[in-house]
């Protein structure tokens, strides 16, 4: 579980987050949507333990959370598999053993065959999957996803959204997803919160079929978009 209580963060004299409270249940998936500058990234930094709130409390920290940044952030000098192994090696696991341990997940994520390619040789979608493997292998109970598909083209993005939804069914984690793409949040999460002026402005339970063309889904999306505007 992940809980923030009355979290306030002031940056440059502005209350970027203003008494924000929310809860993500264990293995729940909550999406935060909002305009640029609404405080989404600030919230992720705080939850990740990379930054401290000026007031309020957060139930998790650096030890609990793995962050998947907006860009894939693969290290260009490491092969795909070695990038996925980063968290294991950081914990002192020898490289060969780390590779062995990471490999099954690597295969499950559809990356077999690209183990020894440098990131520059991978497509955008594959790079994002390697980044996801790297995040999962940190073995943290909370995943923080920061616009995970923002840098991809529309077709790759919708493919990967579906793929991520399935991957999270297989590897359930507590997920906090930050995105400006309402549809993405509705597809991937079971609850979507609208962040505006540093607070939760609206709260939507996703109890509709996860299909872009479903009428109930489209209605929910319209309501969420209105809440943002």
């Amino acid at each position: 579980m992940l809980r923030t209580a009355d979290v306030t963060r002031i940056l440059g004299g502005r209350r970027v987050l203003d008494g924000l409270s929310m809860t993500v249940p264990e293995h729940g998936r909550v999406g935060i949507v909002g305009r640029s500058g609404a405080g989404k990234s600030t919230l992720l930094s705080l939850v990740a333990g990379l930054d401290r709130p000026d007031a309020g409390s957060i139930s998790v920290g650096l030890a609990d959370c793995a962050l998947m940044p907006q860009r894939d952030c693969l290290l260009p000098w490491r092969t795909a598999l070695d990038n996925a192994c980063l968290a294991l090696e950081n914990q002192g696991v020898p490289r060969a053993e780390a590779r062995d341990r990471a490999h099954p997940l690597f295969v499950r994520l559809g990356l077999a065959g690209s183990e020894d390619l440098l990131p520059a040789k991978l497509s955008g979608g594959m790079r994002q999957r390697v980044a996801f493997a790297r995040t999962l292998l940190a073995d943290k109970r909370v995943l923080l996803l920061d616009e995970p598909f923002g840098a991809l083209d529309a077709i790759t993005r919708s493919e990967l959204q579906e793929w991520l939804a399935n991957a999270l069914e297989d590897e359930p984690r507590t997920v906090l997803l930050v995105t400006h793409d309402v549809e993405e949040a509705l597809l991937l999460c079971d609850r979507v919160l609208v962040l505006a002026d540093g607070r939760i402005a609206a709260d939507f339970e996703v109890d509709v079929p996860r299909a872009r063309t479903d009428i109930a889904f489209v209605e929910l999306r319209e309501r969420a978009l209105e809440a943002i505007a």
Binding site: A66, L67, Q70, C73, L75, W77, R78, E89, N90, A138
Partner: protein, 241 residues
């Protein structure tokens, strides 16, 4: 091919001017006279080259080692960086030509003062580039590493240092072009062998062609070192093509 063609053209003009103006070889030798000296004095130049190559190679390695050590220390201690970096810049304003005789007095007439002179000349561009390269690490990568159990040391080993390698090699390539000059300064301050020593001996004897021949060899050495550094970079930094 174009630089080679231009080079050949310049050499040709040089040869023609010297011949047409009947300039004496001891005043300004024609390229052909330099070539004759390169061949005729090959024994002398060869043994001198061995001495100077050693000074250049060891001095350069010493510079790389010191530069990396200092750059890493400065990187880990901002207080040290603020205190020491200005002093390093100041140290570069002391002309090496003047430093060399002092080093000869302190360290004797063996290879040591030459190594130190070469190292002093080469050290600075490597240190400055390394410090900048280490600081230039993408903050997003560091944040990501911190959430992946990355300790300060792990971040240095896996993110900052590999990321700084291209900058370090840029510095090393600049340094490589200075190394030969450093060795000559070192030899001038007191030595009995090496290409700098050959130049020093040839001057009063008006063996001008031999001076030029030694300079040609020194340039070739600088180029070779540059080549070795570039090749090493290609092997160690394959992602930075």
């Amino acid at each position: 091919m174009r630089p080679l063609a231009l080079f050949a053209l310049l050499v040709g003009i040089w040869e023609a001017v010297v011949r047409l103006a009947h300039v004496q070889d001891y005043v300004f030798p024609a390229p052909s006279a330099v070539a004759r000296s390169l061949y005729g004095d090959r024994g002398l130049l060869g043994s001198a080259t061995l001495v100077t190559v050693r000074e250049i190679a060891l001095g350069f390695l010493l510079a790389v080692a010191c530069a990396l050590l200092i750059a890493v220390s400065l990187h880990f201690s901002p207080a040290l960086r603020r205190a020491l970096l200005p002093l390093l810049v100041l140290s570069q304003t002391v002309p090496t030509v003047l430093l060399a005789p002092i080093l000869a007095i302190v360290l004797g007439y063996g290879i040591e003062p030459k190594l130190v002179v070469v190292a002093i000349v080469c050290f600075f561009p490597i240190v400055v580039n390394a410090v900048d390269g280490l600081r230039a690490a993408d903050p997003e990568l560091i944040r990501m590493m911190r959430t992946l159990h990355g300790s300060r040391l792990a971040i240095f080993r896996r993110v900052e240092f590999p990321g700084a390698l291209p900058a370090i090699f840029s510095g090393a390539r600049i340094a490589a072009t200075y190394a030969a000059v450093g060795a000559v300064f070192g030899e001038w301050a007191g030595s009995s062998a090496g290409l700098g020593f050959v130049i020093l001996q040839a001057q009063p004897a008006l063996e001008t062609a031999r001076i030029f021949a030694a300079v040609v060899v020194l340039s070739a050495l600088a180029l070779a070192l540059y080549g070795v550094v570039s090749l090493t970079e290609r092997i160690l930094v394959p992602w930075h093509a």
